[in-house]
């Protein structure tokens, strides 16, 4: 008999039973990007919504071509085009209620415009006369965000604050495939899931982070799969199918609004244009690939659905194009006017009250301007 046996049976306390935190199966995305157009489920979509989406896509494409043209004419400092991604941009804006918030990245001026922002105000950052050309609270559109994914925690914090206040508000945040590699993407999704914040993350996977393709960005099965690790549902959708993107986002927004917490949506799309006008896409991708995606153009897909099912006629198509031209002409005319700048604005909004140091610098600039003025006469 051992000493232990003499003292009585040794019964170690078992550790608490391990339980999975949550069942991962319902969080997993579909195996293939979800599609509506050209499938049986297209018949379930309200034709009025399809026509609305179509008009917005046509207007959005025209906005993209007009902004690109303005850049070539020197009216914009730079323009990161969303040509080819209009279905995501437009659907993101249309699924939100007025009281909701949109958190765009620098490529998402179109989403802001589709939400109702004046295109000239949306383009102020890219024209270069001020960083944010609008009051974010007016349309509940956060400033266009350049440092990748850093706007995502803002969306989470705002959504959480709204819930703490008892407000029925959802935040929708936009990010690209490259942005999913940033630490802020991870932290935002983790906070959102822990807090069950009413926020929807839309990743527009357009294939490239400037020149770097997705396979150099991630080894994940899909970007939507990343949701599972945070304990939120991931959805995979065809980003060029406006009806599908709209449906998936609308479901995610409704889920968030009902207290169900966040969703990560990956929309598979393609950046038809280069990163910006300053980029040369021929250095990292071939024409054949671009042509494949042109054949899967969001406007073509929706137009086919509408015409094949007689949901729109020639006059309807023409009306959408005319409205887009009117918007473009107005944008062209207003962007061709030089913005009126006041250099003293540089000091106006650094602090609520300028520091004594800023007041001194303000006086210096004012004197320089006065001397310039005098020299001009």
């Amino acid at each position: 008999m051992t000493v232990m046996e003499q003292r009585g049976a040794y019964h170690p306390t078992p550790p608490p039973a391990w339980q999975p935190r949550t069942d991962p199966a319902p969080l997993l995305p579909d195996e293939r990007p979800y599609r509506v157009l050209g499938t049986d489920s297209a018949a379930d979509v309200d034709p009025a919504l399809l026509r609305r989406l179509y008009a917005e896509l046509v207007r959005g494409r025209r906005y993209n071509t007009q902004a690109t043209a303005l850049t070539k004419q020197g009216r914009l400092a730079v323009y990161p085009s969303s040509t080819g991604q209009e279905a995501c941009e437009v659907a993101a804006a249309l699924v939100l209620e007025e009281r909701d918030w949109l958190f765009p990245s620098y490529r998402d001026t179109l989403a802001a415009v589709a939400r109702g922002l004046d295109p000239v105000q949306a383009l102020t950052l890219l024209r270069g006369d001020w960083h944010t050309g609008y009051d974010p609270r007016e349309h509940r559109v956060a400033p266009l965000c350049t440092p990748l994914a850093t706007q995502l925690p803002h969306a989470v914090g705002l959504a959480h604050a709204a819930r703490l206040k008892g407000d029925d508000v959802v935040a929708l945040a936009l990010v690209g495939d490259g942005g999913t590699s940033e630490g802020d993407f991870h932290e935002a999704l983790n906070f959102a899931a822990v807090w069950q914040a009413p926020v929807v993350f839309l990743v527009q996977n357009n294939g490239f982070a400037i020149s770097v393709p997705l396979e150099k960005q991630t080894a994940a099965p899909s970007l939507a799969h990343k949701a599972v690790g945070y304990g939120m549902p991931g959805r995979l959708v065809d980003g060029n199918d406006a009806a599908a993107v709209h449906q998936v986002l609308a479901e995610a927004v409704a889920h968030a609004r009902a207290g169900g917490g966040p969703t990560l949506v990956e929309a598979v799309t393609y950046r038809i244009d280069a990163h910006t006008n300053a980029d040369d896409a021929t250095r990292y991708r071939g024409d054949a690939e671009v042509e494949t995606w042109r054949a899967h153009d969001p406007i073509t897909l929706l137009e086919r659905e509408l015409t094949e099912r007689d949901l729109i006629d020639e006059a309807g198509i023409q009306a959408a194009r005319d409205a887009a031209e009117t918007m473009a002409a107005d944008l062209r005319e207003r962007m061709n006017q030089d913005p009126v700048l006041d250099p003293m604005d540089l000091f106006a909004h650094v602090y609520a009250e300028p520091t004594p140091q800023l007041r001194e610098q303000e006086a210096l600039l004012r004197a320089e301007l006065a001397a310039e003025e005098e020299g001009a006469h």
Partner: protein, 334 residues
């Protein structure tokens, strides 16, 4: 000047009281950070607040500083007034992108439409025997970022007054809390309403005629001690406690140096690229004809913060300060 004998209170208690008073006065004030809820913070500054105000207003966040400050930005955008605790000076660095690219710029970026009333509390500085990454003096990073206010208390009363002012400010304020002064005591009546100091005013802690020690935060008590020791050498030193690094109180500093004609800047932060260079330049620009000697600096060495068993060699102490005072060209007076 009250003569009532007051109960001694610590700086940590004054900070807790400031948070409690701010939360009571304004329901939009929310405290958030790592371990600030149930535990009451690793320095116990948020002790009792979760119990009193609930977990929605005193939020134990996931362990991610960029996420903490980033979500605080969103909360402030929605009209809340977040008070963020960064657990230690060197743990605040992951939040720097949010701080520099968003917190400091949002008012400016939106032409004043969306200011961010966020308070960022950062326990900072050495002298507590902390192991690596627990003793940094990180103020140079903050003051180099336009759009932030940066304050640092040296007394129990100022800890209360400056934190209340920071929370009340519509601009982001970084409150650098000297760790080794957390348990310093002062006669301070927590039962009485306390003064809320306007941000941006320095104070003369000790009047003197021979030279001015310009300092802040954890180095203030060291300079006070040096000033007492200096009397044995026949020097009557003035000590200016800056309290606020941004905005900087040029007026109080310059007035003192014009009176004394000599100045030494004292801080723990590394000398090269540290606040002392900026302060010396500002003093020289304003007081050149009153100066009897170049403005000297006594600062931490230009080294990564040393291990605790060697930190006493790094931190500016009384002897090093008095040596600097001795080099202020006194022979010129003879």
């Amino acid at each position: 000047m009250t003569t009532v004998a007051l109960k001694p209170a610590t700086m940590a208690q004054a900070l807790t009281r400031a948070l409690r008073d701010a939360m009571t006065a304004d329901p939009t004030v929310h405290v958030m950070g790592e371990d600030v809820g149930t535990l009451g913070g690793v320095f116990r500054v948020t002790d009792g607040l979760a119990k009193e105000f609930g977990e929605d207003r005193v939020i134990d966040t996931p362990l991610a500083e960029a996420g903490i400050l980033g979500t605080a930005v969103g909360m402030a955008m929605y009209g809340l007034r977040p008070v963020v605790e960064m657990q230690f000076d060197a743990f605040a660095y992951p939040a720097f992108e949010q701080l520099i690219s968003h917190v400091a710029r949002m008012r400016n970026r939106t032409r004043g439409a969306m200011p961010l009333p966020i308070t960022i509390r950062v326990p900072y500085g050495g002298g507590i025997g902390g192991v690596e990454h627990h003793s940094d003096s990180s103020e140079a990073y903050y003051i180099a970022t336009p759009g932030l206010h940066v304050v640092t208390p040296a007394t129990v009363a100022d800890a209360y007054g400056l934190l209340r002012a920071a929370i009340a400010s519509d601009d982001p304020v970084v409150v650098l809390e000297p760790k080794r002064l957390y348990w310093s005591k002062d006669s301070w009546n927590p039962e009485e309403p306390q003064a809320v100091e306007p941000i941006g005013r320095a104070v003369v802690r000790r009047a003197g005629r021979s030279a001015t020690l310009i300092t802040y935060g954890p180095s203030v008590p060291v300079c006070m001690e040096a000033a007492e020791a200096a009397t044995a050498e026949g020097w009557d030193l003035e000590v200016v406690d800056l309290r606020s690094l941004v905005p900087f109180d040029d007026e109080t500093v310059a007035a003192s140096v014009r009176r004394t004609g000599r100045a030494v800047v004292v801080h723990e932060s590394s000398g090269f690229g540290g606040p002392g260079g900026e302060i010396a330049a500002r003093v020289t620009e304003r007081c050149f004809h009153h100066l009897e000697a170049p403005v000297l600096r006594v600062a931490g060495f230009d080294i990564p913060y040393p291990p605790p068993m060697l930190e006493r060699h790094h931190l500016p102490g009384v002897d090093r300060i008095l040596d600097a005072v001795g080099r202020l060209q006194w022979e010129a007076e003879n």
